[in-house]
């Protein structure tokens, strides 16, 4: 598996773990009634900041795990070279993800105009970020496989 493909898979797994962590933590706080107070947005923002810090740790652990796993399974040091095809695939995937995020944010603005709360809008934007990241990595994996 080339470096770019492995990196995409690694990123996809990290995003899925982090998204599940966010869902678990924020839904737990919602059920506990922490978002039913006037400081709901502050509580939400603090939780998200803590989760972002956790995410960085998870990303490092997954990357190390992948690196070690690859070395153990194949018995060779992974080729970490990136070339013009990797950059092209990056740009294509990023463009798709950017479209998704842009239209999604437009959807959130429409939801706000129709009476959605600011907290719901922030959660939707957070979800959109995760979705666009998952979409980007999936497109990259698809492009790597299609052009193999």
């Amino acid at each position: 598996m080339p470096y770019g493909e492995r990196e995409s898979l690694c990123s996809l797994i990290t995003t899925l773990i982090v998204t599940l962590l966010f869902l678990w933590r924020l839904s737990g706080q919602h059920e506990a009634g922490l978002f039913a107070t006037p400081e709901a947005l502050q509580v939400w923002a603090r939780s998200v900041l803590i989760l972002v810090a956790w995410s960085i740790g998870i990303a490092i652990v997954v990357a190390i795990g992948f690196h070690v796993g690859h070395t153990v399974l194949t018995g060779e040091k992974p080729d970490e070279r990136r070339d013009e095809r990797d950059h092209l695939i990056d740009r294509r995937a990023l463009t798709f993800a950017w479209y998704l995020l842009s239209f999604g944010i437009l959807g959130v603005i429409i939801a706000l105009a129709l009476g959605a709360t600011a907290l719901l809008a922030m959660n939707l934007i957070l979800g959109l970020c995760a979705l666009s990241e998952i979409f980007k990595d999936s497109v990259k994996l698809w492009l790597y496989r299609r052009e193999a």
Partner: protein, 73 residues
């Protein structure tokens, strides 16, 4: 009106064979790309930049038109 897209073919596999059965990995290392990229180029799934195309041609000591050919269909 935009011109209809043509077809680009390459003779990399043949040239590798003629160059003492050079492996994809060897050629990839010489031109500075991954083996997967070279495989994609050989299979016509990816078209290299002009710079990489020149590097591949130079590696075999031939002109660009001996590696890549363009066909109007």
């Amino acid at each position: 009106m935009a011109a209809a897209p043509g077809r680009i073919e390459n003779r990399i596999r043949r040239l590798r064979f003629d160059a003492g059965e050079m492996t994809q990995k060897d050629l990839a290392d010489k031109v500075g790309v991954t083996r997967q990229t070279l495989l994609a180029i050989e299979n016509g799934k990816y078209f290299p930049t002009l710079e990489l195309a020149f590097r591949i041609a130079r590696c075999f000591g031939v002109g660009l038109d001996e590696v890549f050919t363009y066909h109007d269909d």
